[in-house]
Amino acid sequence: MGLLSKKDANLIKDPLADNNPITIQVLGICSALAITAELKASVVMAIAVMFVLGLGNVVISAMRNIIPSKIRIIVQLIVVATLVIVVDQVLKAFAYPLSKTLSVFVGLIITNCIIMGRFEAFALGNGLWRSFLDGIGNSLGYGIILVIVGFFRELLGSGTLFGYPVFGDPIEKTGLYSFGYENNGFMIIPPAALIVVGIIIWVQRSRNPALIEEN
């Protein structure tokens, strides 16, 4: 990364693992769980959050010296809501079936804690470029977890990835299914997402014991 100084590069790298928004900061869980039954929805959601967080961080950072601290939450909400309306309308125009799958969860990007959390914790105190990098880094960290969860849920739950059959045809019993493999319908139901995220946390903390918390 010759383009970025080491300090700036850390803004992107940290949220990917040791300061991940979902598994460490506990932000933005709702959408991570609800829409990850399909990999495609997870990827689109991650991109939408990246757009909103990256741009929103820049806007808030640009206005940080003129926002009165008492009404900052409302100002932040207005900025996010505007950006989310853009995302929602674009999705409705170009990917209508997908926007039906995501349903209210696009709207819920507004209340996604990652957005407010990063505005409060970073953009209000830092310059434009650094805020932008922070936004991109955090939404990447969020996206990685979403893609991992979506990958396992779609692969084990319906035997497809991005809608393409991977293990063969479950009805005509081709490929892996001819050996008696069955799709695990449990992975499709929403509570499975919680358990998958729980396991991701388990793996991550076993690899880095510094992250282990008290009960």
Binding site: I29, P190, Q204
Partner: protein, 253 residues
């Protein structure tokens, strides 16, 4: 009346905010370490949901929906402002949360201090906005039903956070694998509770299916009497056909 009762139990148990649609997870995970604070936040969520959902229902009905502006005059009937719903809903919510914050600070400073940052964060609790958005997308019919929906989803959220807080207080005494402690085990417990709550789905559909089965059996039994006559006809017809065939067969012979 029946639809009110159905909506009430449906939104508490079957469509529970936390276990069925995963709304409000951030504060659910972060404030559920002690029962006392969990109860305080839960009560605040019930109040804010019960107020904002009906208010947003009014906004949706008379301002945002397609054709909602027709009360202004027939020339406004074509307007569809529903793309503005995010921004208007969140404005209502932020205002109400500010109000709750002032009231709680005035009457219960200790609760105000224990909730800390999470009181203003109710404004960005997905459960609150999610309540209004689901109200919009499920097209709830009347003001009364909207109020009912807000109140009962709030109660559902309250129950969920109360249950997990009680479990987390006890889990301190058990030997959880070190990397799972805290967040990890909370996720997995919530998942298990979610699976448990899915069984409440049988509360409504199970009853309906039984009723449909009963109706079907009645319908099946009723035409039986008529059917007794029809097979005999068919048999005779068949016989005649067979006879004819035999005849033709014989003729060929």
């Amino acid at each position: 009346m029946l639809e009110h009762i159905e909506l009430f139990f449906r939104s508490i148990f079957i469509d529970n905010m936390v276990f069925a649609v995963f709304l409000g997870m951030c504060s659910y995970l972060a404030v559920s370490k002690k029962v006392a604070t969990a109860v305080g936040l839960g009560a605040a969520v019930i109040f804010v949901l019960a107020v904002t959902v009906p208010l947003n229902w009014l906004l949706d009905r008379y301002l945002l929906q397609e054709g909602a502006l027709s009360w202004l005059g027939p020339e406004y009937a074509d307007y569809n402002l529903s793309f503005l719903s995010f921004i208007l809903f969140i404005a209502t919510i932020a205002t109400m949360v500010q109000l709750v914050e002032i009231v709680v600070e005035k009457f219960s400073p200790s609760l105000y201090n224990s909730l800390g940052i999470f009181l203003p964060l109710i404004a960005v609790n997905c459960a609150i906005l999610g309540g209004s958005l689901f109200m919009q997308s499920r097209q709830i019919e009347t003001f009364g039903l909207a109020f009912n929906y807000g109140l009962s989803s709030g109660i559902g959220w309250f129950l969920a956070i109360l249950a997990i807080a009680a479990i987390r207080e006890k889990i301190r005494y058990s030997n959880v694998p070190a990397p799972l402690r805290g967040l990890g085990i909370t996720f997995i417990i919530t998942g298990l509770m979610g699976i448990g709550f899915q069984s409440f789905g049988g509360m409504l559909t199970g009853g309906d299916e039984a009723a449909e089965d009963a109706q079907e059996t009645v319908q099946i039994e009723a035409p039986k009497e008529e059917k007794i006559e029809t097979p005999t006809k068919e048999v005779t017809e068949n016989n005649s056909e067979i006879d004819e065939k035999e005849i033709s067969y014989n003729d060929v012979k």
